[in-house]
Symmetry: C2
């Protein structure tokens, strides 16, 4: 059996994702990506259209995955405290399980050209709007007690963002345990009466 093709659109995507996360978009050359895949830089253009499109797809795939995970986590859950806990847990789990994508989404959005950047911002805002809606409804029901639901929802979304920096999969806690802690923090922030 001869050596199989070493490169594919998916392989380029993954190599670029990891390098962009570690070195940044502008700090990563097409040659860097090619080197990981042991091919020449010009050869990459047989599988992707441009470096910019590569960045866009990395972020778009990451956002779609996060939105899908949130929808699954909330499916069939009616209690608003459960919704907030699950939404926070799935958010933190996404951060821990996809550190490279999350780093790229957090740090490279300014390197996306305007039409593509807005598309990503829209998806990110749609995610945040769902968290805010949960907090708002919980306040309206009297289940939550928080003076500024908008600020609280931002704090909840943001608080787990850095967890990937200190979390190690083979460390003291599992990702699920860390996510559960943040779920608890979210309920505390909104002043939810615990069961």
């Amino acid at each position: 059996m001869t050596k199989s093709t070493a490169v594919s659109p998916q392989a380029v995507h993954e190599a670029a994702r990891d390098l962009f996360a570690r070195q940044g978009y502008r700090g990563t050359s097409m040659k860097d990506i090619a080197q990981v895949l042991a091919v020449s830089a010009p050869n990459l253009y047989n599988h992707v259209t441009s470096k910019q499109d590569l960045l866009y797809r990395i972020m778009d795939v990451a956002m779609d995955r996060a939105l899908a995970a949130l929808a699954t986590a909330l499916d069939g859950v009616t209690d608003l405290a459960d919704q907030l806990r699950r939404a926070t847990e799935v958010t933190v789990l996404d951060f821990l399980e996809n550190p490279a994508e999350v780093t790229v989404c957090n740090t490279e959005i300014r390197n996306l050209d305007t039409p593509l950047r807005q598309a990503i911002i829209d998806k990110r805002d749609a995610y945040g709007a769902q968290i805010l809606a949960i907090v708002d409804r919980g306040c309206a029901q009297g289940l939550f007690d928080v003076p500024e639901p908008r600020v609280a929802s931002f704090a909840i979304l943001e608080m787990g963002n850095n967890a990937k920096a200190w979390y190690h999969p083979d460390g003291h806690y599992s990702a699920t345990e860390v996510a559960a802690l943040y779920g608890e923090f979210a309920l505390r922030i909104v002043g939810c009466r615990l069961p």
Copy 2:
């Protein structure tokens, strides 16, 4: 009176800080910085030694300012709940009042060469260690009730990091009011009995 000197180390520092925050370190050329100051790019080297040193000083100044503000905020405060509230408030205030420095510190640390990078990381860790120490002591006193003080302190430090993205100085709340909200969230996260 003739035109005064338009450039100084401080002016270069400030121009670079704002451009690095908006475009990134690698997305900003020395020519870009020079253009803001209406001088030639080579002229910048009469005021700074290199682009790399410029980045280091921006981050180092930011860290020293944050550490000094934290020390001032905690000076003479003995109650641990007050300490945590004030530490959180001053942290968020620093985020809101120095958005450019904070953005550079958050996104450009990977572009610092190794010896300089470690110096910044050490200062950042020293900041975090003070927050953790407050949470730890509060738990030891039975004033706080949180299962994992380390995770809680990370969540508290991180939760206000994005506030600068949606906060507008001439908007609904003042920076002090926003900071006070986050101070409240911090006490809730650690399960502090409120007065």
